[in-house]
């Protein structure tokens, strides 16, 4: 396929449908697991040919636009669409009243989110109406002509206002399954975890430290905006080309609202420009489908960055109160904590975030006596849900600050103090779950501490100070005056996969046949490739399992069973596991075929352990029995099956006990910072990481994941925060001008030490990689800033005024 070159006459262009092009991998004999094979979509991505969801184009396509609420909480008195409908070029305007089915709400777990507002808006930016027009600007202008009369209501914005005796209920008449056990209707979910005897343990403590911590609202800030193209089909259904993290989860939520059976909503993954949790919830999916079905025309919706800040959930901001106790010799006696997460106006993933925050709330340490409580609130703030690290991030910021505080009180080295209390294989978690695979927490700390330190005063050169390496950078605010260095450490624990009894499976279809004179394998899953490199790994697994070189990754769609979500660090484990499993089934079928065709020629067909390697059937001592090309002939061998990891259990609603997680992952960071103490500017000089990955299926990608997660944690430490006005609950900085993410100048070198201690329960021994580095990065940077400045710093991100005493 060549780049499309539309004629000047058509005046339009873009990527053709049938997006992502089929990808065929290399022609060598290598490329199995453990190698740093290169991305199969790399060439498309560097040449601009890779079709992201915002690049799609269809003849006769219309553009969709969403009208959003300008206020956080209001009754909708009236909506007048007349003037908008009269705009030339407008094909449809839809409100709640135009929804076609009885089902008018959706949600990941609790269906509390209206497709379009019905009588009331609960947060700033909530969708109220949608427009389709023949030019995006026409659609925007028409949307602006929709007249909506709002009567503003009081807002609840924090725990005090949400739980006040006269608090407005964000959702009245709740019937969801958490509503029966929560202490207040403005609490989405509450999970206590109680183990041992905290009162007794407290009496044994020689030192007790308390702290109250604040964690700001972080945005995923994936670069590819929410977007997709809905194409109406002749059978009354719709085909949606979409950037998402989980096609089948979208499908389950979309179809009922459209009033269609699931088989009439076909979904194909378009190119995804990053996700980080922000695409777990629906954004424009239903709106595009509604407009396409209403107009009979393909409809494309692309958010701009401003709208993107309103169009997806964020990381929960949190208030965390901790009490830690320890004996004089440095043993933790107990931890008592309360974590309050602001879930905003709709539930999204809040219940599961609560489960993580509580069950991972004390970190990777051995503590027998704990009293943990985590809650998520309903408020009129922006909805919050999944983001990389998912509940474990907020807790890690707080418990690691506490560990430093305790070490200081005890006069112990902060790393040695952590090592002294570090969990290991066999440790019992606060949930009562015994950890049954490696948990090298002390070793990761040892490794990250042993890495060489960056030289002092790197910014000095013979020609004076290189300001690019100093706090303030090219603003040229210091040449070293007032600059002090600090070093900080942190370690964290994250669960891998979906927890608490969720049926967390993936499906893979694998096919082997002869094409062009050689055996070719096709892997078909619905896994959302969002940049993480799952497509690379699937091909590697197929090569390793089936001994072929050429592997084609079929575009992800809903014509194959669910692959679960690209989140929770789970795809290499679970969909990778499914691909391996399907490959094993194909291998058995191929061997059966071989036995039928060639079994009589060699006794080894019947007796030996047989493998597929280098395009041949071989015995386990390496003797080749037949070429796969001859075994297969003109037959294609195919297998499709679901694959599950070990089941987990729900946490007990009162005690939090239960084997709730399938796997844990660990990373440790060392941050080196330089702080301009006069201006409160921070330069992170280096952010080193050590992580256990069980088995690195693709070392290059593994390191890339660790570095990327580390940088997001850095952003959370020193710059990233969605600011919500506490009086109005309105978002104040929805742009990349005002919401800052790290640039290449803000991000230091990130040396990575990868440890591979196999988890015997997981495919190839692997351990999910993507999230753990996002946990410990933030508290390590905070610890380094505290080390440099001597300040307490109980909130993140740190802003200059927190360092200069002018806050």
């Amino acid at each position: 396929m060549r780049p499309s070159e539309p004629s000047a006459a058509s005046g339009q262009g873009g990527a053709p449908l049938g997006v992502p092009t089929k990808i065929t991998q290399g022609s060598g004999t290598r490329g199995g697991i453990g190698e740093s094979t290169l991305r199969p979509d790399g060439i498309l991505k560097v040449t601009g040919e890779f079709a992201y969801s915002s690049d799609l184009w269809h003849e006769d396509m219309l553009w969709g636009q969403i009208l959003r609420s300008p206020v956080a909480h209001a009754e909708i008195v009236s909506i007048d669409t007349g003037e908008a409908l009269a705009v030339p070029g407008v094909y449809a305007v839809m409100t709640y009243d135009d929804l076609p089915a009885d089902v008018k709400h959706y949600g990941l777990e609790i269906q509390d989110t209206p497709v379009l507002a019905h009588g009331r808006v609960r947060h700033h930016g909530e969708p109220v109406a949608i427009v389709a027009a023949d030019h995006p600007e026409t659609a925007r202008r028409a949307a602006a002509k929709i007249e909506v009369a709002y009567r503003e209501l009081p807002v609840v914005t924090d725990e005090a206002s949400a739980l006040a005796p006269d608090a407005v209920l964000v959702h009245e008449d709740r019937t969801d399954h958490h509503s029966h056990h929560v202490p207040h209707p403005n609490i989405v979910h509450r999970q206590p975890i109680v183990r041992g005897d905290v009162a007794g343990a407290r009496r044994r403590a020689d030192v007790i430290v308390e702290g109250e911590y604040t964690f700001g609202m972080q945005d995923q800030a994936f670069l590819g905006p929410e977007s997709g193209l809905a194409v109406p089909e002749e059978d009354g259904g719709v085909h949606l080309y979409i950037a998402t993290q989980w096609l089948h989860s979208d499908l389950r939520q979309i179809a009922p609202v459209l009033g269609l059976p699931e088989d009439k909503v076909r979904m194909t993954l378009a190119g995804v420009g990053g996700a980080f949790g922000g695409r777990e919830d629906l954004s424009m999916q239903i709106h595009a489908c509604l407009l396409a079905l209403r107009t009979g025309r393909p409809v494309k919706i692309v958010y701009n960055r401003f709208e993107s800040f309103f169009g997806h959930v964020h990381r929960h901001p949190a208030k965390l109160r901790y009490e830690h106790g320890a004996t004089r010799d440095g043993r933790l006696t107990h931890v008592k904590c309360r974590i309050v997460l602001d879930g905003g106006a709709y539930a999204s993933a809040s219940p599961a975030v609560v489960g993580n925050a509580s069950s991972l709330g004390i970190g990777p340490y051995v503590v027998d006596d704990v009293d943990i409580e985590a809650v998520a609130l309903y408020t009129n703030n922006p909805p919050c849900g999944a983001m990389r690290g998912f509940g474990a991030v907020q807790a890690c910021f707080a418990y690691e600050a506490q560990m430093d505080k305790l070490a200081k009180e005890l006069g112990l080295d902060p790393v040695e103090f952590r090592q002294l209390n570090a969990m290991e294989q066999g440790t019992v978690m606060p949930t009562g779950q015994r950890v049954d695979s490696p948990a090298p927490v002390a070793e990761l700390l040892r490794r990250v501490k042993a890495m060489p330190m960056p030289p002092e005063r790197q910014w000095e050169s013979s020609e004076g100070a290189d300001v690019r390496q100093l706090p303030g950078g090219l603003s040229n605010t210091t040449h070293g005056e007032g600059v002090v260095r600090g070093v900080g450490y942190a370690v964290g624990i994250k669960n891998v996969g979906f927890s608490e009894g969720f049926d967390d499976y993936s499906t893979a279809r694998v096919r082997m046949e002869v094409a062009g004179g050689e055996p070719v394998v096709t892997v078909h899953t619905a896994m959302a490739e969002v940049g993480q490199g799952g497509v690379t790994v699937h091909a590697q697994i197929a090569r390793t399992e089936l001994g072929v070189t050429r592997v084609t990754i079929h575009p992800a769609d809903t014509r194959v069973g669910s692959a679960g979500s690209t989140s929770a660090s789970r795809q290499t484990y679970v969909t990778g596991g499914a691909v391996r499993h399907a490959c094993a089934l194909v291998r058995e079928k191929v061997l059966e075929l071989g036995r039928r065709r060639f079994g009589s020629y060699h006794p080894a067909w019947a007796t030996a352990e047989l493998l597929l390697e280098g395009g041949k059937v071989v015995t386990d001592d390496g003797e080749a029995l037949a070429d796969l090309v001859d075994v297969l002939g003109d037959e294609a061998v195919e297998a499709e099956e679901e694959w599950r990891h070990r089941p987990t259990e729900p946490f007990d609603p009162r005690t939090g006990q239960g084997d709730g997680h399938v796997q844990y992952s660990f990373a440790a960071h060392r941050a080196v910072v330089e702080v301009d103490t006069e201006l409160g500017l921070v330069k992170v000089v280096e952010l080193a990481c050590a992580q256990d990955v069980g088995k690195a299926l693709n070392p290059l990608s593994v390191v890339g994941q660790i570095q990327g997660g580390t940088a997001q944690g850095l952003g959370m430490a020193v710059m990233e925060e969605i600011l919500v006005d506490p009086r109005t609950a309105k978002v104040r900085n929805p742009s990349f001008t005002d919401y800052l993410i790290p640039t290449i100048l803000d991000t230091p070198t990130i040396p990575v030490d990868v440890l591979e201690l196999a988890d015997g329960h997981a495919p190839y021994g692997l351990r999910g990689v993507g999230e753990a580095p996002t946990l410990s990065s933030t508290p390590a940077v905070l610890a380094a800033i505290r080390d440099a400045t001597g300040l307490e710093l109980n909130r993140t991100p740190v802003r200059p005024e927190h360092l200069t005493g002018t806050a």
């Binding site: 601009g48 670069l223 701009n304 990608s701 890339g704 570095q707 290449i744 991000t747």
Partner: protein, 190 residues
Amino acid sequence: MRLDFTVNGRPRQADDVWEGESLLYVLRERLGLPGSKNACEQGECGSCTVRLDGVPVCSCLVAAGQAEGREVVTVEGLAHYAGQRSGGTGARGTSPDEAVGGAAEGAGPQAGEGTGPAPVQQAFIDAGAVQCGFCTPGLLIAADALLELNPDPTDADIREALSGNLCRCTGYEKIMDAVRLAAARRSEGV
């Protein structure tokens, strides 16, 4: 309005352009060149970076009319542009893993009319600098422009030159590696 300008070495024309459209919109939606990306549309992220008469600019901040009569190079034309600059058919580095990677046969269209990817494009693949890839087109244009001016940049030079391009996936380390690799291959004459 009608817009006449040169894109990737070819004269192009766009009709019925609304005056408020950006160069980015015209490239993406009217000329079928969606390689330049639309991540912020206010000049903060650099994903839409193109060369305008040789100068790297955010095409989202250039009104379409400002491109009248001028020369634009997008990521789709980068290989051709780099090939012309080196006076050949697009010099190209080769990594040991290339045979197994995405550059293999059947991997899709090659940009630049009969050439392979530009050296900087190949370096991004080889170094693992591409994850989701949404920032990649803008970074490639910026990195190629840097190496054109400064074939042997220091790390601080690279960071300064690429500071207008946001990446959310990589933590920038592999991007640094890619630019160092492209510079090293060039100096080795690979």
